[in-house]
Amino acid sequence: MTKPSLHPFTWWLWAIGLAVAIVRFDSTWFTLSCLGVVMVVVYGLREDAPWAMSFDWTLKIAAWILAVRTFVGIAIGVPIPGTELFRLPIVPLPSWMPGIRIGGTVTWERLSSSLVEGLIICSIIVIFGAAASLTSPHRLLRVLPVYIYEFAVAVVIAASVLPQLVGSVKRIRMAQRLRGQNTRGFTSWKRVAITLLEESLARSLDLAAAMDSRGYGFSKKRSRYRPISWRLKDSLIVISAIGLVVIS
């Protein structure tokens, strides 16, 4: 294993910077190019660790959100005049709901504005997903100050248990396929979700108990065995993100 050389805060700060820049720029091309950069960075730098594998799922979830957001955007709301693409049947609504319309003419302008708005939301999810998959949650725990003990425990448990769930999903779906169950469709996911929820709860409790019995948070001071230092590389990455915020 190569030694991770970046500070655990680096990618999180970078992600925050990028997210702020995207919101302030509010430009499709900028957002798309940020997404491109993020993907190149993640697939180039991620380690072979359970949390690194969670990025693929982040992408899937983001795509799903984009699809739903776009559909809602074109089907419900105020019509925007412009080039007509196709027509949806109009759902009649009671008279006390003026100004809202479901269905109707879908114009190119309406579709593109829904897409752009959805894209910004998705890009922020993807960027933070990238930070989570590039940073080891365990190293993050080491640099978080002890003063925010409860918060830190919650963050670490969430950040270390969630990615492990990806592995669990695969395992459980495999087991159920072997039981001859259909692994497509909504009901199959419901089955996975129940098993998964129970397992993640048990895992979280285990981890919390282990941290507690090893004295985490008991002493307010904490020594460092091998201090994680902030290097030039970290500064450059964070400065690049801050630079984008300043330009925007």
């Binding site: 294993m1 030694k3 660790a49 359970p50 080891s136 365990h138 190293r139 725990l141 080491r142 670490v156 395992r171 459980i172 495999m174 087991a175 159920q176 396929r177 072997l178 039981r179 001859g180 169950q181 259909n182 089955r191 996975v192 129940i194 098993t195 129970e198 397992e199 048990a202 895992r203 409790l205 285990d206 981890l207 919390a208 108990a209 282990a210 941290m211 507690d212 019995s213 090893r214 004295g215 985490y216 948070g217 008991f218 002493s219 001071k221 904490r222 020594s223 460092r224 065995y225 091998r226």
Partner: protein, 535 residues
């Protein structure tokens, strides 16, 4: 060192007390073993010692537990960290960092020890537990035995006075288990460490224990020397059953003691006729030149064999030898990289839905992966519907396997053994031609293991179907299997009758065989049958 005074424990929403009025004093440098049926409260007893119960789990505690003069009522688990090191049932869930070295340092960092002390102690522990070669490895890449050693090291590094371990060998192969236990034994003798350990596989630990605490599950607890407790306890390792079956007045807890006591029996002229190899009936599973690899690591290296109807085949080998890979390839989970698997003429990877259910029954390492119903009855009804059986059929099977499970219980609230029984009855309800089990005895007590043995033997003999299981449990193999395939580093190194394979390696020989060597007897049953044959 550890003092339980009038301790009673009850969990909320529970009608039975876990412990009732327990008085126990454990002296410094003592090694105490906690035994009892699954779900009887062994883990609760262990976690009472550092206050995880009730601080972390809830529950009402009466009486007082104190360690080194510190009472757990006043102090949270964190405040006991410098006195007690605790290793949980599943160490992989308790790791807080990524690499071995960081994990060892974590406990000292939070106790705010100075850097030079930490450096010294990390080196010390790396040597003590022979972890030096692994120091920079990521914990996720270690094998089960290595992870267990890291967890023990991480607990020891703060120089605790007490070490508490919950089933430290349940996931380990016999050799790795031996290694971990002999390290503990050495720590007790060299450093005067006090060790409290819970374990199901008594044959592995009994020789190291100074005293035993036997918990019954109804609140009662008995404390005594191993001989006293095991004399009457229903939970006992095979050599104690051997002593009982032979009608010895005393019982021995080590192979050495038992050999002294049974010298005359061993020297009797053996009339045991070695069973001829079972009739080779029709072949059920054939694999040829099977190769499986992950990334760049070869898990199975071009192996071939055939499994016949009516056989119970145990796949054995070290942690990470390729047992699970073989099982998964046969069950059709992964497509092999080279070679061919044929299951009754089908490619198992191509089987789906009902066809799959009727041919392969697969129980994964976590039987709960198969279960998703909100209660036992929903689970059974689902199985009936899947297999177009009359309502209640699966539940009847379950009643035969593990009697006395309430139909409204949530599968999660069942004990480990009951859950395995439920998964098994769901799988058996489709009447598969082949049954494949991956490590079925993790966390099972002797009673549950006996049930499993009975179930599998009747399945194999009445239906003439093949059973294939991967396991570390030598005693189970001795009782159950009639053929053993031994895998090392992806190659089949031995393939033959259970007797041949188990007797040829001392590390994998069951206790009874060690006592009775050179007689070819593997289990108490064999010994009794042989003696009866002589009379």
């Amino acid at each position: 060192m550890i003092k339980f005074s009038n301790v009673s424990l009850i969990y909320p929403n529970s009608t039975t007390t876990v412990l009732e009025n327990l008085n126990l004093t454990i002296a410094e440098g003592e090694m105490v073993l906690v035994i009892g049926p699954t779900g009887s409260g062994k883990s609760s007893l262990l976690r009472l010692i550092n206050g995880l119960v009730p601080h972390h789990t809830g529950g009402i505690l009466a009486g007082d537990v104190s360690v080194n003069g510190i009472s757990t009522q006043m102090t949270k688990p964190g405040g006991m960290a410098h006195v007690i090191g605790i290793v949980g049932q599943n160490p992989a869930n308790g790791f807080v960092t990524d690499t071995v070295e960081e994990e060892l340092a974590f406990g000292m960092e939070v106790l705010n020890l100075p850097n030079d002390v930490m450096r010294k102690r990390v080196e010390e522990i790396l040597d003590l537990l022979s972890l030096a070669a692994l120091r920079n490895r990521s914990i996720a890449s270690l094998s089960g035995g290595e992870q267990q050693r890291v967890a023990i090291g991480a607990a020891l590094v703060t120089h605790p006075r007490v070490l508490v371990l919950d089933e430290p060998t349940s996931a380990l192969d016999p050799i790795a288990a031996e290694e971990v236990l002999s390290i503990l034994h050495r720590l007790v003798h060299d450093l005067g460490l006090t060790v409290v350990i819970a374990e199901h596989k008594l044959e592995r630990v009994i020789q190291f224990a100074d005293r035993i605490v036997y918990i019954n599950g109804d609140g009662a607890a008995k404390v005594g020397t191993p001989e006293e407790i095991l004399m009457q306890s229903p939970i006992a390792p095979p050599i104690v059953h051997l002593a009982r079956a032979l009608g010895l007045t005393e019982i021995g807890t080590t192979v050495r003691e038992m050999r002294r006591m049974t010298a005359d029996i061993r020297e009797m002229k053996s009339s045991t006729v070695l069973e001829p190899i079972a009739k080779r009936t029709e072949s059920v599973i054939t694999f040829e030149k099977l190769t499986v690899s992950y990334d760049n690591k070869t898990a199975l290296n071009s192996i071939s064999s055939t499994i016949f109807a009516g056989e119970i085949v145990a796949v054995m080998g070290r942690n990470g030898a390729g047992k699970s890979s073989l099982l998964k390839a046969i069950a059709g989970v992964n497509r092999p990289h080279a070679g061919k698997v044929s299951l009754l003429g089908n490619d198992p990877f191509e089987l789906h839905g009902k066809k799959r259910r009727e041919r392969i029954g697969f129980i994964p390492q976590e039987p709960s992966d198969l279960l998703y119903g909100q209660s036992v009855s929903i689970e059974c009804e689902q199985a009936d519907r899947d297999n177009e059986l009359a309502a209640g059929t699966t539940h009847k099977v379950l009643q035969q396997l593990v009697p006395g499970i309430s139909a409204s219980t949530h599968p999660r609230d069942l004990s480990e053994g009951q859950r395995l029984g439920l998964a098994l009855s769901v799988v058996l309800s489709s009447n598969p031609s082949v049954l494949i089990l991956d490590e079925p005895t993790r966390g099972l007590d002797y009673e549950a293991k006996n049930q499993l043995t009975r179930m599998l033997i009747s399945f194999a003999s009445t239906f003439g179907e093949a059973v294939l299981l991967a396991t570390h449990d030598v005693e189970l193999v001795a009782e159950l299997a009639n053929r053993v395939i031994f895998i090392a580093d992806g190659d089949i190194v031995a393939d033959g009758t259970t007797l041949d394979v188990l007797l040829s390696s001392p590390a994998f020989a069951p206790q009874v065989a060690k006592v009775m060597s050179p007689q070819p007897w593997l289990s108490v049953k064999d010994v009794v049958a042989a003696i009866e044959g002589m009379q």
